[in-house]
């Protein structure tokens, strides 16, 4: 009976999984893109740091289900629009990563920055070609946390009716079936593990000079 359920619903499970991947990946990438300039600002200016990291902390406090529902009221989107989920998760990712990016940039050794300066790297060039690459291990560590939590947070959107792996949980609850529940949990954990490994791999190939180090 259990395997039958999976076979009978294979198409639906597949499309839920694909939805889940997009709902996780888009906000993670968008969040990183927004967090880098903000984190840089927080790193450079003391007041900027206080404002940005304080705001980020407050935003991170808002429970996801509440944010999913409040965003339409703020943005004027429809409540069932997946865009709300994307924006909410982007907000969480930015909130998590600004601090990580600021700390990562702070972890770049002074000598490295000075050497880059002496070699003629200035402003943007120095940031993009020297400081960010050196900060990659710290940023990747933060991204791993962000992506794994995002996989889990996306499932909450099932409660307001947005299809992704969380839908298997609401189905399991309504039908009193364990199979979709357990399958949903396993697929979430699997997706989180794959994305986590992917990030470790990206971190490794983008920092060839650290080959001997063990990524924390």
């Amino acid at each position: 009976m259990s395997i039958d359920w999976i076979w009978a619903n294979l198409g639906q499970i597949g499309s839920l999984f694909v939805n889940h991947v997009w709902l996780t990946l888009i906000p993670t990438v968008l969040g990183l893109l927004v967090a880098i300039p903000l984190g840089w600002w927080a790193h450079r200016s003391r007041r900027g740091g206080v404002i940005i990291i304080g705001t980020a902390g407050l935003l991170y406090t808002i429970p996801s289900l509440a944010l999913f529902i409040l965003l339409p009221a703020v943005l004027g989107t429809r409540i069932l629009d997946p865009l709300n989920i994307v924006i909410a998760l982007t907000v969480y990712t930015v909130a998590l990563l600004v601090r990580v990016v600021a700390d990562g940039l702070g972890s770049v050794p002074h000598d490295t920055v000075a050497a880059a300066e002496a070699m003629g790297y200035r402003g943007w060039q120095r940031l993009v070609l020297v400081e960010i690459p050196v900060a990659v291990p710290v940023i990747v560590a933060g991204l791993r946390v962000a992506v794994v939590s995002n996989v889990s947070i996306v499932t909450m959107a099932a409660l307001i009716g947005i299809p992704q792996l969380g839908t298997l949980f609401t189905q399991g609850f309504q039908l009193r079936l364990f199979v979709p529940l357990i399958l949903g949990i396993l697929l979430c954990v699997l997706l989180a593990a794959i994305l986590d490994q992917l990030l470790i791999w990206i971190g490794r190939i983008s920092t060839p000079w650290r080959r001997k180090d063990v990524l924390a």
Binding site: G57, L58, Y60, T61, I62, P63, S64, L65, A66, L67, F68, I69, L70, A73, I79, Y92, L96, R99, V100, D103, G106, S107, V138, A141, G142, V145, V148, S149, V151, S152, I153, T155, M156, A158, L159, I160, G161, L165, G166, L168, F169, T170, G172, F173, R176, F178, L181, I182, G184, I185, C188, V189, A192, A193, D196, A216
Partner: protein, 247 residues
Amino acid sequence: MTLLDWLIDPANWTGAQGIPTQIGFHLLYTAISLAIASAIAIPLGIFIGYTGKGEMLVAGAANALRALPTLGLLVLLFLVLAPVIAGQLVFVVPTIVVLVLLAVPPILTGTYTGIQSADPAAVDAARGMGYTRPQILWRVQLPCALPLLISGLRGSTLQVVSTATVAAYVGLQGLGRYIIDGRAQANFAEMAGGALLVALLALALELLFSVLGRVLVSPGLRRSTRRRRPAPTDTTTAALATLTATR
């Protein structure tokens, strides 16, 4: 009806389904879960931080738990436990179990990383002054661990407030009721009202913890952390680990 109409409607502020009652329920579940989780996690965290035993295991378990989707865990445990429990508690007990399960890792991580991150110089100084090992633990390492411990408690609290909201789906009282019932009746004002109240409750608790941190943490400790401006990445990741509850 808009969000504001719903919020100022006196009918929503009285009775068994009223806003004060639901806030009370929400806080009650939060308090119970945190108390149980602390009773488990703080002694265990002290043991791990003090002896260094089981650290890898706990760090791995905490990470794995982060990947587990809260909603799935909640529904699964509810379906498993509900038949075992009879009567009024059928909604409450399975949920409390999930809330405790989710609240333990941040407190545990905060406690043991806090103890381990205690300044070795302070520990050495205490040893030099003739403190016994238990004395070092209680008078030096624990006070030094307090900032990370409180940050762990804060992470747990937010996780619990957030999950207790979701638990309205399986029938729990609390502010989540407005969101779930509002959704069922396509009443957007009620949903948004509930969401706003949950967000405000979470912010209020966050504020409470920042005040708590200011009052409880030794002033000497605060000064030394401020002087060490470029935060060592170790404490950053530790703080991250305690912060990142899965909303």
